[in-house]
């Protein structure tokens, strides 16, 4: 085979391989969406059906009618508020470390090391502490915990992004008439926007995905959707219709968020890739 032909074949093989891998990864998601739209008979049909005969949203209707869907709202609240808090506190802390060398050279390493603690090691001590403080099964308790757990990540990432901003930009603003707070608002935040959005998404996803802390620290008031899904796995039978519909509700916000912010996400990750 001549050069161009061989290159085309190679290109074709690569494309096929990529498509195959993508299909393997996408299939469970596809299946999840399909189950959520099937009737009970169709779910258990053999041989399995690729598509429901008729699109019906009955499984979702049940979740909303029984109030189960509220757990998605709970997740949204705890993940959203804790992300905002972690970004706010973390960015200020990162700015202080990056620009004023607060805590010396090693503070940020130490902060990052907090992130490496296995959650299972601390979840029960935290539970006991929360019982004592009366924070179990409260929004405040879950939000505080997620904020605390996300802070090291936010600080570490934002420190890198802030160090990347030329100092002269800030100094120029200081001379031009800005206070330090105005410099952060008018110069640092716009300059670090891509990194901030990427960091915020990862922070949000961590809180959104958390199961362990939510399981241990909540009961009935603030059940998050990850905990709610487990309620449908029974000893005798599994409620696949509810499991799938709930899972779809749980994954949709992430799909939407990532879809909208893909541009920043990729830039943010690659920015962070070259940071020390």
């Amino acid at each position: 085979m001549r050069g161009p032909a061989r290159r085309q074949v190679r290109q074709g093989l690569r494309l096929m391989l990529a498509t195959a891998v993508t299909l393997v990864f996408l299939f469970p998601i596809y299946w999840l969406f399909m189950i959520s739209l099937k009737t009970a008979d169709e779910i258990y049909a053999y041989p399995p059906r690729w598509f429901p005969a008729q699109l019906q949203f009955g499984n979702y209707a049940v979740l909303f009618r029984d109030g189960d869907a509220l757990t998605v709202w709970n997740s949204l609240v705890v993940a959203g508020v804790s992300t905002v808090l972690a970004m706010l506190l973390g960015t200020l802390c990162a700015y202080s470390i990056a620009r004023f060398r607060t805590g010396g050279d090693r503070l940020s390493d130490w902060i990052l090391s907090q992130r490496m603690i296995p959650p299972i090691a601390v979840v029960f001590p935290i539970f006991l502490l929360y019982v004592w403080l009366g924070l179990v099964d409260s929004f405040l308790g879950v939000i505080l915990l997620y904020t605390a757990f996300n802070l090291p990540y936010v600080i570490w990432m934002m420190r890198g992004y802030i160090q990347d901003i030329p100092k002269a930009l800030e100094e120029s603003a200081l001379v031009d008439g800005c206070t330090r707070w105005e410099v952060i608002w008018k110069v640092v935040l716009p300059m670090a926007r891509a990194g901030m959005l990427a960091t915020a998404i990862f922070t949000f996803v961590f809180a959104w995905n958390d199961f362990l802390f939510a399981l241990v620290l909540t009961r009935t008031e603030v059940t998050t959707y990850t905990v709610q899904v487990t309620h449908y796995f029974g000893g005798q039978s599994n409620f696949w219709s509810k499991i799938s519909a709930m899972s779809v509700l749980g994954t949709l916000p992430i799909f939407i968020a990532v879809g909208f912010m893909q541009r920043y996400l990729v830039r943010g990750i690659s920015l962070g890739a070259v940071k020390g």
């Binding site: 030329p166 002269a168 930009l169 100094e171 120029s172 603003a173 200081l174 001379v175 031009d176 008439g177 800005c178 206070t179 105005e182 008018k186 110069v187 716009p190 300059m191």
Partner: protein
Amino acid sequence: MADLKIKALHKHYGPVHAVRGIDLEIPAGEFTVLVGQSGCGKSTLLRTIAGLEDADAGDIEIAGERVNDVAPKDRDIAMVFQNYALYPYMTVFDNIAFGLRARRTPKSEIEPKVRRAARMLAIDHLLQRFPRQLSGGQLQRVAIGRAIVRNARLYLFDEPLSNLDAQLRDEMRGEIKRLHQELGKTMIYVTHDQVEAMTMADRIVLLREGRIEQAGSPLDLYERPATGYVAGFLGSPAMNFLPATVDEQSSGPAVRLTPTLSLPLPAARRGALEARRGGALTLGLRPEHILRAAGDDAREGLVRYSALIDLVQPTGSRTYATFRLGERDVVAELQSHDVSRPGEKLDLALDMNRAVLIDPETNRVI
């Protein structure tokens, strides 16, 4: 009245003593250039004046008020940074207007001020562009526009031209000087480039290792350097330095370069060497003070020397010729056609009236 007064200023960076007791007064409306090699403390001094660094000791007064503890924004200064410091997410207009907005200037005043500054710098057609769409020279103009749009008391420039290519640098040099003449503001300009310092300054402050080596008008420093360092720093090509001893001739002290070569001094220069007979000396000769000898020129202080040229560097307007004098290679700046090729023998005249005599121990000019 002095616009800026600096008294016994010190600044450390960890173990580095960057500014070591500087006293300086800058009168209103003057264009002062702080010049020196990298690491001499010139940028640190400028940043301390701006309030971007805190002084460890000493006072800084702007318009009679001590500003050591005043925030940069309240010092009434404007500054141009080496790497432009433009906000990439703002248009040129917004970049220039940034300082006005930060100081809550009424909206109705911002637009005419920005347009006026942009016109002065010939960037009024670029106002809606973003910095990434501009060339280096245009970026620098915007950076200068950001400073001059404000009616500040003091304008600081931190090596603003060092990122530009040579031709653009020449052009901007002239423009900044013209701006100074038009605005009549007090400006302090930091550079490591002695040509920039010479061409732009009303007054040069030459710094070395955190201290002022000499301050004065450009020609003052050039013609009457206080030390060998100043003499060698200013001028291109640089001054020639020759180790010598003070020799006794019938006419009085002379400068001996080798056992066989002694250069007599004009009467006016001899006095300074009376007390140094037999002592060591460094002779400084600027390239332009070595001339092609004219047949009948017998002025006092011109010393004839027959040179064997071994390197010729024509620049167009002048030609640099290198030859051996005593034990050193020496560069002479001659007329373009005075010399044509290496190996040529040439009668030169060393102008000892303009020679700089330096005490090698203290490096001070005698």
